[in-house]
């Protein structure tokens, strides 16, 4: 039907799938009237139509769970609001466990769900059978029930969102492919389409599996790759209950729902079939891929076990379609780095229907106020690196990405495909020393070192993963002797120019303008006082600053700093991550070892804590920074990358005399946890302020103006309503991994942001925020009796106002 084609709109959305329509809907709710959604073919015809329409609330982390939870609220009422049937039914869901180990995972999941406000509880197998007539629980160990999960008709929901958006003033144009994005000076200006150009202020890409190529048009990394994904629908089967709760059998990688009197059986392929290597056909529209019955086979045995009637059930429809997956199975949302006003909402990893409502709402908030209501780092588009749009990497990774949704979510579970990507210069040396590697941001990092004769592989387990004893040895070596770890993966920037100090002072809460050679740990907070990042800043000379940040955040940090660097400032920022390696030598005996490697004076007087010097080391010159992430005396050595291998060998040789031990990331994490160091992304996020995080020492309100100062001053004056605290479990045999609920006086209060084992203190350690609307004072905190829920049971926990190990932080200054 003819409509005139607009030449401008305030917001243009690319993509009329359920996410694009949800974004349009929520933008109109947020007051945006001039919204134009462009769909290349027809609403929902990309991948939305192929979805089973499940609304599962519990996802891998709190952020994604909250996004998914909202779907069951929105779709419950959207039909009534718009008059378009969304097919929403609150069916509930049952998760079944074939093994005791899986039950442990689910018990932890249930505890986590509770913390996230989701009802999930264990039910008897008999109860499960009663709820799902026709289902057999033979051979099962346990079942869990989520009464509030639901189902929706994906196309109905998409149409309802579209109707709601139109009612709110949005324009939706179908059969209009976007050909290019127009930018000027790093800002979005509009789009070129088949039907003409449209100028816009804000662009939102919700283009599903097409997004990677749309990102490429403006050189933005939107890494996702399509894989084949299927479900099969049977003819009606007698005795089934209409709308029975969705059944998920994770061990069988299979799920079941009722569909027109029959069963819809879907699965998450353990080894997925990548698709679309040659591009996505232009005429893709409600397209189904060629039948491949072999793809269905892995799910049939599970199908027969759960629903014996399936054996003889006729398959009315085998639907194989394509869906796109990201390298880490999380969505990508937010404003893309380095292109102003270009937002994305894609990478839905086959949970697009469940995620659609939350993603659309979060995007509308992000666009309207500059940030989402709840921080969303795990799904933030700024977590991607430019290299991640590499198509071969994505193709190889997607093989694993589909099945991982139903895989056992063991702690520290590593991906196995598309590796290695980035190796430190000493990678092979570490490997020769028995390293088992873990990966972050593409970097291979020694996770732990297996002793000679032991296989250097991860063997996962909830209670006793194979690396625990090795980790313990490495941990204790740092506490009592000397250890070395390779953290070349850390993000590193050089900030230079006449205005460099002023720019950084405005960004950092701490004083970074000390003497040359001074090193400051500093929060970088937003206008609300929340952590955008935390970094160490070394003043190399009057106009040069060396910044170290986490391995996973350099793109985000660079983007954040660049956006807040005044256009006329004489200040450049360069990512030098690959220019320097970083070897950390830590432990009470580190000074002795260092003395054998350098002539520099390493005494407290000549080289105090929180300072840096360029020193000789072996045959090289490096920046030695006397800081520590593990709470011991030590130096972080930033060595020109290609000098590193030789230096490493010399250090190892010299280390023999001092009992130098190589240390992996597992031990680094337990060391930092025990000593109370916060980790950005879990312990500190944009929603947490330095005061709440107990990092007030990093805020200098008297140093002059900086971003977030006002908010922090106000908070300091008003007092806190939430504050981080640390805990150790009384029972030394119980493990913590983070995300465990913390109870105060028998009531749920907060969640563990980090968890691990403190080998020096001999107990599992956790930290987490305690909250009290009346205020969290020291007295209030100390007055509570604390317990942590582990595997469904409350465990007594001891409170630590400071860290369990070295609470006065003296070890680093030895």
């Amino acid at each position: 039907m003819t409509t005139s084609f607009p030449t401008q709109a305030q917001v243009v959305i690319i993509g009329g799938g359920i996410v694009g329509c949800s974004t349009a809907y929520h933008l109109t709710k947020a007051g945006y009237k001039d919204v134009l959604l462009l769909e290349r073919k027809e609403l929902g015809s990309g991948t939305t139509f192929a979805a089973a329409g499940l609304l599962a609330q519990l996802r891998q982390n709190q952020e994604m769970t909250n996004l998914a939870k909202y779907a069951t609220e929105l779709y419950a009422t959207l039909g009534e609001e718009t008059g378009v049937n969304t097919g929403f039914v609150r069916t509930g869901a049952i998760g079944v466990c074939q093994s005791e180990d899986r039950r442990l995972e689910w018990l932890r999941g249930a505890a986590m769900a509770k913390a996230f406000g989701i009802d999930m509880h264990e039910i008897s197998l008999k109860e499960a059978e009663d709820m799902v007539p026709g289902m057999s629980t033979q051979g099962l160990k346990a079942a869990f029930y989520l009464p509030n999960d639901g189902q929706v008709d994906p196309i109905g929901a998409t149409q309802a969102l579209a109707k709601g958006a139109r009612n709110g003033g949005a324009t939706i144009i179908e059969n209009c492919k976007v050909l290019d994005i127009i930018t000027k000076d790093g800002e979005v200006k509009g789009v070129k389409t088949e039907k003409g150009e449209v100028a816009c202020e804000i662009l939102v890409t919700c283009a599903g599996m097409w997004s990677r190529n749309i990102g490429k048009k403006v050189n933005v990394s939107l890494p996702l790759h399509a894989a084949e994904h299927l479900h099969a629908i049977t003819v009606p089967i007698e005795g089934l209950k209409k709308h029975f709760p969705t059944v998920r059998d994770f061990d069988g990688e299979t799920y079941f729902k009722e569909e027109s009197g029959g069963i819809l059986l879907g699965g998450f392929e353990k080894v997925a079939k990548p698709w679309g290597m040659k591009g996505i056909p232009d005429n893709w529209k409600f397209t189904e891929l060629p039948e491949d019955w072999d793809l269905l086979e892995p799910f049939m045995d599970c199908g027969f076990d759960r629903f014996p009637a399936l054996e003889e059930a006729q398959i009315r429809h085998l639907q194989i379609s394509a869906e796109s997956f990201t390298p880490d199975n999380a969505f990508m949302i937010g404003e893309v780095p380095h292109v102003k006003n270009m937002f994305v909402g894609c990478g839905m990893n086959s949970v697009g229907i469940a995620g659609s409502a939350g993603v659309g709402r979060a995007l509308s908030q992000w666009i309207a106020q500059g940030y989402p209501e709840e921080q969303l780092w795990p799904v933030d588009v700024r977590r991607w690196f430019p290299w991640q749009k590499n198509s071969r990497y994505l193709r190889d990774r997607v093989v694993e990405s589909v099945g991982i949704l139903y895989e056992h979510h063991y702690p520290n579970r590593q991906r196995e495909t598309a590796r290695p990507v980035i190796c430190s210069p000493v990678h092979d040396r570490l490997k020769a020393n028995g390293a088992a590697f873990s990966m972050i941001a593409g970097w291979e990092r020694a996770d732990f070192f297996a002793p000679e004769g032991e296989e250097a592989v991860h063997k996962y387990d909830w209670r006793s993963p194979n690396w625990l004893p090795y980790q313990k040895e490495e941990h204790l070596a740092v506490r009592n002797g000397v250890g070395m770890y390779d953290l070349t993966s850390m993000g590193k920037f050089m900030v230079q120019g006449r205005d460099a100090e002023a720019v950084l002072q405005n960004l950092c809460t701490n004083q970074i303008g000390g003497a040359i050679g001074s090193v400051a740990y500093t929060p970088v907070v937003n206008e609300r006082g929340g952590f955008e990042t935390d970094i160490t800043v070394t003043k190399v000379d009057e106009e040069t600053f060396f910044i170290v940040t986490a391995a996973g955040t350099p793109i985000r940090d660079l983007d954040y700093i660049k956006r807040r660097t005044p256009k006329d400032a004489i200040c450049t920022i360069i990512d030098v991550t690959h220019g320097y390696s970083m070897l950390a030598i830590m432990g009470p005996k580190s000074r002795d070892l260092m003395a054998d490697l350098t002539d520099a004076d390493l005494s407290n007087e000549a080289f105090p804590f929180s300072t840096a010097q360029e020193i000789d080391l072996a045959y090289t010159r490096c920046i030695a920074v006397r800081m520590s992430y593990v709470g011991e005396l030590g130096w972080e050595l930033y060595i020109p990358t290609n000098h590193t291998l030789a230096a490493f060998d010399t250090i190892m040789e010299a280390g023999k005399k001092h009992g130098l031990k190589l240390v992996g990331m597992q031990a680094v994490n337990s060391l930092r946890l025990e000593t109370g160091y916060r980790h950005w992304e879990s312990d500190i996020t944009p929603d947490d302020t330095p005061y709440e995080a107990g990092l007030g020492f990093g805020v200098k309100l008297d140093k002059g103006d900086f971003i977030g100062k006002e908010a922090l001053m106000t908070q300091k004056k008003k007092g806190l309503t939430r504050k981080i605290a640390m805990f150790t479990l009384e029972d030394p045999d119980i493990m913590l991994y983070g995300n465990e609920p913390i109870y105060r006086d028998g009531e749920y209060n907060g969640i563990a942001t980090s968890g691990g084992y403190g080998f020096e203190v001999g107990a599992a350690v956790a930290m987490g925020y305690l909250k009290n609307p009346e205020g969290v004072t020291k007295e209030w905190i100390q007055a509570g009796k604390y317990e942590i829920m582990v595997e469904g049971k409350l465990r007594a926990a001891k409170l630590h106002l400071s860290s369990p190990y070295d609470p006065k932080n003296q070890r680093t200054k030895m």
Binding site: T287, P290, E291, W293, L296, E297, A313
Partner: protein
Amino acid sequence: MNIIVLMKQVPDTEAPVEIAASKDRLDDEDIKWAINPYDEFALEEALLIKEAGDDVTVTVITVGPDRVSEAIRVAYAMGVDNAIHINDEYDDEAYGAADAYTTAKIIAKVLEDTPHDLIIAGNRAVDDDNYQVPAFIAKQCNLPMIALVTKQTIEGSEITCEQSIDGGTAVVKASLPAIITANKGLNEPRYPAFRAIMKAKKKKVDERELDEIGFDPETLGAAGAKVKIRSLEFPPERAEGKRIEGSSPAEKAAELVKLLREEANVI
């Protein structure tokens, strides 16, 4: 009794299609394929005869490239006993598109040494819409043909069929062996069951290459076809439609009639 079902794999009717660079055929890749819907009636009818009678063997014959194995798997899962797959997959671009004539020639040749009392085919394939293969086979094998059958009964060596004809139906009979073509209404085809699909994977398919059955591929495909596709193109796209507004159904109706008379000139 030996029943032969002629089966063709065709693009799913809801599948969008893409024309290959050579222009004389479709781009095979990423098309969802399905058993020709009329062949499903044929399959079902054969299976119903088998289930009602003693000693009935159902053999499916299909001509097509490697991908046809998915359709064969479904046929096995539905319940056929044997499958003969004449693989016409040739890398040679010059091979080109077969037509009804070359396809029928291949099948007729296979039928020479395949026992057959009754051949059931779909009345047409919904891809090339040729309506010709059964007629060619009937001629080449000298069999009576009954087209557009909606009901059949076999007594002794005679088959009696109801067939759709203009304005109604006819009842006709012929001696076996015969070939009949299935029309919609003949039956309600079954779907393959889960277990059967799994078992079907293990069934052996009688795979035959064109040269094995005595054909020079050069005489088939486009070279042997009597109707040769010169080029394929998409029909011109229709202009976007006009939405007729009005405050009441009557007003809309009046506006429509006006437009049909004055703008479209069709009434």
